[in-house]
């Protein structure tokens, strides 16, 4: 073993290790201790022990295995001491000590633990907002306060969601397991929804001051990469491709003054070519797997935009065709709305307007500001100014995000208020 490093240096290394490894260690400790809270305590204990022992004894050869085994022993030790006040904990300590296998498991087993953690956080028995909060905190390591900031809510609200979710996992006996092959497709869909929800909230926040919240989008992409590494199913590839191809436009989406720049007006030289190349390669892998799912189709649409050197050169025929497939694979009013906009680009505003009106007539998008903004834009292009103004006003009433509100306000002004 090498000579003990200076404390500041070791501290820095341990901090780095916490960032890189704490979620893996936690995922395994939850399995070994069969309890989220006990595992979090054990994780804290393991890093506290590292801080104390490593400067003196040197860094162990396999820090992760050391942290896991130290965390486990400390947890059993804690339970033993607490058994003085609660005899049941003594039994639990004895059971954990006997049941636990060699904590320095094989690596593929440890990778499974990360999947177990993801599937548990995204369990369908938990409410959707709790799934997102749990995933961001337990899998990504965000703090309660960071999650609250990302979703423009207060930390106590997020904290309660997480407390309730954990109580639910315990009470309902939600197993810490990767779903069986029969269950996997349905369960994976929930996981992908959680990741995509985090991404959308980062890339296009529903409310607030900024056009993007990059930390959240980055976190979702990191999560997407982790999923691709652990479970490279076609839709997992498709989702990561979609996020990368969309996120490639991030820098061009915000003007210098913080305002929103529409796709057609973006400076395409500012698109991130590396992200586009990576996304396109992932998309090809997803497409070659046979059945093409909704995420891969949306990624294909994003790729069609990414390939066009100018807005005018966009292949709207291909995009409308992809929306047709998407409307069949994953029918929703939002998909229909987007298809209508694509049709208006291919055939002109009149055809698009008829489709947008048909979607709005069914009522489900009536409170969706982008539906009214799209309608307003088509009316404006058709020269129906009074109706366009009314539609912009309706969109403005519904929009909750400041840059978007400024954009709609400007359009309204251009049409004479």
């Amino acid at each position: 073993m090498t000579q003990a490093a200076a404390p500041a240096e070791v501290r820095e290394r341990i901090d780095g290790l916490y960032r890189a490894e704490s979620r893996r260690v936690l995922a395994t400790l939850i399995r070994l201790l069969d309890d989220f809270d006990l595992a979090e305590e054990a994780l804290q204990d393991a890093f506290a022990a590292a801080m104390e022992q490593w400067p003196r004894d040197g860094t162990p050869a396999n820090p992760r295995a050391w942290l896991i085994s130290t965390g486990r022993f400390r947890a059993i030790d804690r339970l033993r001491r607490r058994a003085r006040f609660d005899a049941m904990l003594g039994e639990l300590a004895a059971r954990l000590e006997q049941a636990a296998p060699d904590p320095a498991d094989r690596d593929d087993h440890l990778e499974d633990d990360r999947l177990r953690l993801i599937f548990t956080c995204c369990h369908p028995a938990l409410p959707a907002d709790a799934q997102v909060a749990m995933t961001l905190r337990e899998v990504c390591g965000l703090t309660t306060e960071e999650i609250a900031r990302a979703f423009l809510t207060r930390p106590p609200t997020v904290a309660q969601r997480i407390v309730r979710a954990k109580a639910r996992i315990r009470a309902a006996g939600i197993p810490y397991a990767v779903p069986s092959p029969e269950e996997l497709p349905g369960r994976l869909e929930t996981v992908l929804q959680v990741v995509y929800l985090a991404f959308t909230e980062g890339y296009a926040p529903a409310a607030g001051e900024s056009v993007v919240r990059p930390e959240l989008a980055d976190e979702a992409i990191r999560l997407g990469r982790l999923l691709v590494e652990l479970l490279p199913e076609p839709e997992v590839l498709g989702l990561l491709a979609l996020m990368l191809l969309t996120d490639a436009r991030r820098a061009a989406r915000t003007a210098a003054d913080g305002d929103l720049v529409l796709l057609a007006d973006q400076d395409r030289s500012r698109w991130d070519r590396a992200r586009i190349a990576e996304g396109t390669a992932l998309l090809e892998r997803a497409m070659s797997a046979g059945e093409v799912g909704p995420y891969a189709l949306q990624a294909a649409i994003a790729a069609a935009h990414a390939e066009a050197p100018t807005a005018q050169a966009t292949d709207w025929h291909r995009i409308v065709g992809l929306y047709d497939l998407l409307a069949r694979a994953d029918p929703s009013p939002v998909v229909e709305l987007n298809r209508a906009v694509a049709v208006s680009m291919r055939d002109g505003p009149a055809g698009g307007l008829a489709l947008v009106d048909a979607v709005l007539a069914r009522g489900r998008l009536d409170a969706y500001h982008l539906a009214h903004a799209a309608r307003a834009d088509l009316l404006r292009r058709l020269g129906r100014t009074a109706e366009a103004r009314a539609a912009y006003r309706r969109a403005l009433d519904l929009a909750r995000q400041e840059p978007q509100r400024r954009f709609l306000g400007r359009r309204l002004e251009e049409l004479g208020g």
Binding site: Q44, R78, R81, R84, T143, E145, A159
Partner: protein
């Protein structure tokens, strides 16, 4: 992040506890504090005398006044506090839930403002 866990309980209920239960609670509280110390999360933990021993100080127009109390009409009184270092609010909640007196009354978890940092941010 620092969090202050304010431990509230009904003084009358605690007073009515048999001595062996009080001893057990003190014992368990000390053990819990030792655990927190070992994991590097304890900054300071203290129990407080009864509110009857308290005095409230105010300064108005440069004049100091002191009154008995607090006399707020509440069922639970502040009986102690634990100042902790935690990664986030949920970790603080978990630690607060392990404070033995939480079983008697309630624990209010308050994030501590870092005044030095707030100041330098401006």
């Amino acid at each position: 992040m620092k969090y202050l866990c304010l431990v509230y309980a009904e003084e009358s209920r605690v007073d009515a506890m048999p001595q062996d239960e009080v001893d057990a609670l003190i014992d368990e509280t000390n053990a819990n504090n030792e655990e927190l110390q070992a994991s590097g999360q304890l900054i300071l933990a203290e129990a407080l005398e009864h509110v009857a021993e308290a005095i409230t100080v105010r300064v108005r127009d440069g004049r100091l006044s002191a009154t008995d109390g607090p006399f707020a009409e509440t069922n639970e009184q502040l009986g102690g506090f634990v100042l902790i270092e935690a990664r986030d609010l949920n970790e603080a909640v978990r630690i607060a839930g392990r404070i033995p007196s939480a079983r008697l009354g309630s624990v209010e978890v308050r994030p501590v403002i870092d005044l030095m940092r707030e100041h330098s941010d401006q």
